[in-house]
Symmetry: C2
Subunit: 250 residues, 2 copies
Amino acid sequence: MIEAGLKPSVTRKSGVALWRQIADQMRQAIGSGALGADGRLPPEFTLSQRFGVNRHTLRSAIAALVQEGVLRAEQGRGTFVESRKRLSYPISARTRFSTGLRDQTRDRRSVLLADAVEPAGERVAEALGLAAGSNVIRLETLSEADGRPVSRATSWFDAKRFAGFARHYAKTGSITASFQKFGIDDYFRHSTLVSARHADAADLTDLKLSPGAIVLVAIAVNVDPKGKPIQFAETRFAADRVELTVSTEA
Amino acid sequence: MIEAGLKPSVTRKSGVALWRQIADQMRQAIGSGALGADGRLPPEFTLSQRFGVNRHTLRSAIAALVQEGVLRAEQGRGTFVESRKRLSYPISARTRFSTGLRDQTRDRRSVLLADAVEPAGERVAEALGLAAGSNVIRLETLSEADGRPVSRATSWFDAKRFAGFARHYAKTGSITASFQKFGIDDYFRHSTLVSARHADAADLTDLKLSPGAIVLVAIAVNVDPKGKPIQFAETRFAADRVELTVSTEA
DNA sequence: TATATTTGTCTATTGTTCTATACAACTAAA
DNA sequence: TTTAGTTGTATAGAACAATAGACAAATATA
């Protein structure tokens, strides 16, 4: 919410533990400044009464947020806000990872986790405009900003046209730079499908998230200046660290 | 995932009950056609092994989805898919609620839950280009498709320019139609900020979600043909029923 | 230094979730 | 009619979540 002042409420017997519901609400309230605006949280007992639960239950919620790096607890002093601001990731015709975040972070880095050549699945083949079963290159990559994982992507490329793409990417850590090796000086974001879901086990480890965390999923097609698809990608963003900006200027 | 023939994975000790995690994943998989594409689910025992849990745990997940109306179980026969579709909500310069979903649903409806005139908060004032503290109209609306809640929006309008907007909206259930009453025959989506979070208590009830559910949050500014902001809105979409499509054609 | 405030740890009890096993009830097909 | 396959029900124990009360340890302040 925008105006939101903390309106704490939890649901019992819902399949979601109270401490997790509370942790989720607190993370949100902290992000919007409704809680701990002065950098310090109210005492545990006060908060536990506000949420209508036992102090221990509230402590579990705090423990989870400490684990995430959102809070820091100091015995005898209190509990303090550690959190950092959410990054804003722009989606437009000229979407690129590094340039979009240029003004928001000091240090950006992309790492190649794995790569493979494999026959294209139905959906990949269709998106890239290839015959079903054609060979494609699959890249598993992780992007970090200021030392924190931001996104985890799986990309596919035509194996014939872009043979050796993984090698270039491993060296440069940049999709844009790798495309240039193949004579593509410019490319465009054709379409993006945005959804959200709970992070799966693999994303939890790669993005260093805690269970129950949310990922924003962007499924995108990039095309060369002639309009031919050159990259199909599914990117998972840690929803508590990133938001997507869509500019639709005419 | 994309190729996904369902990559089931559950996290233990996460504060989210296994049956709820499984229900969430199954709802998603059903929506994307990765599960029950033929209208029928694999037997409970098979599914329970796929998720690595006891059959009873899986049955709890199915029970939740039956309760939601996603599945229907028949003793001796099997479990069947009742409603499959996930709506795709387009975001572009000409984003409108009803037209975007025209081909995907039979029945669309928007309801005015509440309205008020109030001084603009900092963020609202800035977005609408008004002086801080100017009066604005706030609309709380709920949109449904085929009888199921799809999105829950909070919108703000300049109270001076759009006096009586709520009355028009209550009658027509359409933002577009209401704008026409004020001589605005066309308008454009200027920018959209997309994020995701756990649904808060209010959204849970309005969108009929279960605790721990995810909402896609779109914060948008609409402008008139002259480029002047006329509407600032925060819309929460049920992430298991909706995905957003961003087309960025040049 | 004393006192109040705050976070950290411990033990115990109760309710919910998950597992395990067995069997009943219903359906479809041999 | 028999058999195999499926969903539905029952019971019991193990693991986890939540409550409760008491006290220790650290910090800030009078």
